[in-house]
Amino acid sequence: MAVGGCLFSRTPMALVRELLRQRRHGLTLARNLTCTEGEFLMVAGAAARIVTAWMSIGLPWGVSKILRHFVESGRVALEEWSHLALGLRFRAAAMGVPFLPTLTMLGSDLMDVGGMKRLQDPYTGATLAAVPALFPDVALLHVHRADVFGNCQIDGYPHMDADIARAATTVLVTTEEIVGVEETRRRPERTVIPGFVVDALVLAPFGAFPHECYGLYEADFDHFADYTRAIDARGPAAVADYLERYAYAPPTWGDYLDLFGGERLALQQRRARELTGE
């Protein structure tokens, strides 16, 4: 299972929440920079393996205590690839080829972690790393707008969602807004995922909250601070309580958002506009 966005940006939180509610377990999560959603999946017992380049909430909160707890005890396997290498694994799959050549990771101990092979350039004989394609069974993505045919547009930095969508067998997308196809045709250069790649589309305003969505709302850093303070005090049990409150208790996504409150959402919207406005 691949999760779109990156770190606390455009994380498909409504879809992650649904996954938790369905009490899935034994999943492999592939995401380049893994944030709170990775901790949720660890604590809920949903993820048995995480394929990633980095995991923490962000620099100010240091090394994730949840990561340390689950990985050092061997309960969750953390398969580490470099940021680019993992990006190229998605891109190879998106291109429909079993591997892509790269220079990155050569010489490092990361080569052995995921079993990266080397090969020779058939023209010059130079040594290259061969990044194996990663074809996720399912991709979870969150986008700014999509039309009824599933054509998706993303504003700002696109992260790796376009490659992840092409790489995965089944693609589930939440969107901030559903628009008419006329709107897609008006700005075709903004479309990053063609409709024929998407399997299911769901309207979910604030679908990444408390993570950010470029131009629409900033990540809720105060919320992260409260969350990590609770972990500092009580460890994984704090995350279990958090999941009870935010994932399992609220029946709908609207109820979930109500826990944050309209004022908080509006504030984060204002901050986003300030940062991306003229």
Binding site: N32, V63, L103, T104, M105, L106, G107, L275, T276
Partner: protein
């Protein structure tokens, strides 16, 4: 100098390492802060590349990003190519300098941000991981590391090579298949370290004002060489400090 903190000194000295008209892949934290200072003070045409897939942003004073994937890091960017394509520009040789921190660093400049302990799958301490550090270290024309100088960070041999510099020295980097790059300097809170061009072992190139070679050795877990001519860092100017402090008024990264 008495009113200059170690982080401030580190950021100011690191900023001086960057030249104008270059492309710099900067990690968040002190490296990005120092790059922003360089852009403001002496390198206005320095182009920042950020691993969130962002090119040419203008970091706003008081709004330093805490990650490479957020609106503060993307502010007023000139291009948003996405993560993979930003790194591929480096692989093609377009990025002059990789500018990054490091948790554990060895005498050949290799950095570990993955695991402490010898068994990767059962580590003593699990660190956050490479992120883009391996890619920056592998693909930029030159890498400059910015780090506090602590003995536990400077080790003879890292437990795990997350980001390759000169590997075990000599031609090891080229032999591994990396076409260019390597760590040229390590800027610390005590001095500036370079590498002996033959053995690629770390050496002291400069000491900060008031710091002795002995002090540096004391805070380093392996034997450092010395450059033929040792320099002494010019103290941060009022000008540099004022600009730096204005960039991080909440002292998120200056501590």
């Amino acid at each position: 100098m008495t009113d200059v903190t170690a982080s401030e000194l580190l950021a100011v000295v690191a900023a001086r390492e960057l030249r104008d008209d270059t492309t710099v892949f900067a990690g968040v934290g002190v490296p990005l802060l120092a790059a922003a200072l360089a852009r403001q003070r002496h390198a206005p045409r320095l182009t920042l590349v950020i691993e969130g897939g962002i090119i040419g942003p203008e970091i706003a004073p008081g709004r330093l990003p805490i990650s490479t994937n957020e609106m503060r890091a993307g502010r007023r960017a000139t291009m948003l190519p996405g993560i993979t394509d930003a790194f591929l520009l480096a692989q093609r040789g377009f990025v002059d300098v990789g500018f990054m921190g490091g948790a554990q660093i060895d005498r050949h400049g290799n950095v570990n941000t993955s695991v402490l302990g010898t068994d990767y799958w059962h580590p003593k301490v699990r660190l956050p991981g490479t992120g883009g550090a391996n890619d920056i270290a592998s693909l930029c024309r030159e890498v400059i590391i910015v780090t506090p100088h602590e003995r536990r960070r400077f080790v003879e041999r890292v437990d795990f090579v997350t980001s390759p510099a000169w590997l075990h020295g000599d031609g090891a980097r080229r032999a591994a298949g990396l076409l260019f790059g390597g760590v040229s300097r390590v800027v610390t809170t005590l001095g500036i370290l370079g590498f002996d061009p033959d053995s690629r072992r770390m050496r002291i190139d400069a000491v900060h004002p008031g710091v002795s070679v002995a002090t540096i050795r004391e805070h380093t877990g392996f034997e450092l060489l010395e450059a033929p001519r040792l320099a002494v860092t010019v103290p941060p100017s009022e000008d540099e400090l004022a600009m730096l402090r204005a960039l991080d008024p909440e002292r998120r990264f200056l501590g």
